[in-house]
Amino acid sequence: MRRYVEFLRQLDLVRPEALDTPLHLVGCGGIGSFAAMALAKLGCSRLHLYDDDRVEEHNVPNQLFRMADVGRPKAEALAEILEAFTGTRARAHLRRVEAERLQGIVVSGVDSMAARKTLWQKCVRHRAGIPLFLDGRLGAEVCRLYSIRPADPDDVRCYEGSLYEDSQAVPLSCTAGAIIYTGFAMASLVADQVKKFATGEAIAREIFCDLKTLTLAVP
């Protein structure tokens, strides 16, 4: 009953019980920290946060962390922030996800293509227990979100076609790599896709957002 009162303003958009699927956020940085907050605010209560990294000062402007979190494990600090803001008790896992069985929606917010490939090949590809895999990619003012059903061959082909070597990535300057509002945009897209999955709405396999030109496209 309490949850219905809490989420009164969105009951006709998504019911709280529809968001009971476990959610695994792999990476708690520029994508994962904001996405976790959006998902917790949305009403997702079974959140798992994975990251083996610690908060550094340069993370504060473009990730959700506070100055007081500098030096702490990202997953632990993020879980604390989520609880303070939403009452949601996320489980913090201070490690990378490599080869393990995850069950539920997986949100990838890792920071390299190599990590993405490992996550995809060892944990996600052809996994029946993962109904939806969201992979976010940020670059300065541009973001792209893949929403993939790991058992669907069309989705698998699309996603595997998007994986490339880190050496092929367009290099961005260290001082033009990440900015706060792109993380917020990505978090909105992630929350929107999770809501659509929960309500059985159609999900776009790929969404592209360019905040510089204010372009939102579904290729």
Binding site: Q103, R127, A128, G129, R149, D152
Partner: protein, 322 residues
């Protein structure tokens, strides 16, 4: 019956008469005994008889704004003819009357000019209004037509996109099938890949299906591990899937999500059907084995608690046989 005939008179005194009253009495036996008054078009619009001045058309039936002008012009035309009789009868000075009539004519013409200016202004305003209405009407028409065309273009674009996808998919599948036909060894490799999956103990082809025997399947739930037993997966070439528990069936349930061999595949149903449709048996098997290793209390048919925990004597027997 009228005693005088009537003839059409569209103009009198150079002024258009109203449609409802654009006729005049003809001079004849009843009329015409006096002096006819002809306007600029040489139409008889009146006559004078003694000091009487007659109007042959319906003056009061005209537009209200034209009536004073028509009356003045009629008087301007007629009064000079009755002036001699009037001067005699009323003992008026002819030269002063002439001057007075000239001034009245000038006033009439000034009135006509003012009226024409007003008419031109009204005509201009009416024309501008008509043009604006015509432009607005054309804008409405074009907007409706553009909307209709845009809908059509969108529909065509959707059809092109859909047909392009079908074309691409058709070509891809044709290449796949050509590859299958031309390279029978690839089918052999597919079977070897199936047999190489860690959870698959045996794979064989029989009666239009691939049958796989799995190793014992263990699942975790609530911090405990359960052994669900060995399974036979039947992947039919027509896309059908049957899953039978060979060792630890619980009543009619082969698995928490499988009842009498029929799996409730949930969100992976479509994916498995597509994989089987593409003859991707290895991928389909990976999905199905992961399905067997996954239990979801939200939609299981029989709770996993009905199966023995790993470590139980009966389970150890199954594990030892692998």
């Amino acid at each position: 019956m009228p005693r005088s005939s009537i003839f059409p008179l569209p103009f009198a005194h150079d002024i258009p008469l109203s449609d409802a009253a654009n006729r005049a009495l003809a001079l004849g036996t009843q009329l015409g005994r006096g002096r006819p008054l002809l306007d600029g078009d040489a139409h008889a619009v009146g006559e004078t008889l003694g000091t009487n001045l007659y109007c042959l058309f319906d003056l009061l039936g005209q537009q209200a704004t034209w009536i004073p002008v028509l009356l003045r012009r009629h008087l301007d035309l007629g009064l000079p003819h009755v002036l001699p009789a009037l001067t005699v009868r009323e003992d008026l000075q002819a030269d002063r009357l002439e001057d007075r009539l000239r001034i009245l004519r000038e006033e009439t013409e000034a009135l006509v000019r003012a009226r024409q200016v007003t008419l031109r202004r009204e005509a201009r305003e009416a024309y501008v209004r008509a043009c604006q209405e015509r432009v607005a009407e054309e804008i409405r028409f074009l907007q409706a037509e553009i909307g209709f065309l845009e809908d059509g273009v969108e529909e065509v674009a959707r059809r092109i996109a859909a047909d392009t996808r079908r074309l691409t998919e058709g070509r891809r599948r044709l290449r796949l099938l050509h590859g299958e036909r031309d390279q029978p060894e690839s089918s052999g490799r597919e079977l070897e890949s199936l047999q190489a999956l860690p959870e698959v103990c045996e794979a064989r082809i029989q009666d239009g299906r691939i049958s796989l025997i799995t190793a014992p399947i263990l699942v975790e739930h609530g911090g405990r591990r359960y052994c669900l037993g060995r399974f036979q997966l039947d992947l039919h070439f027509n896309g059908d899937v049957r899953i039978l528990n060979l060792t630890d069936r619980t009543g009619l349930y082969d698995h928490p999500h499988v009842h009498q061999g029929r799996p409730r595949l949930g969100t992976v149903r479509e994916g498995v059907a597509k994989l089987l449709g593409e003859y991707q048996f290895v991928a389909a098997t990976e999905v199905l084995i992961d399905f067997l290793k996954t239990v979801n209390p939200a939609d299981w048919r029989l709770p996993v608690l009905h199966w023995p925990e790993a470590g139980h004597e009966a389970v150890r027997g199954v594990l030892a046989a692998t």
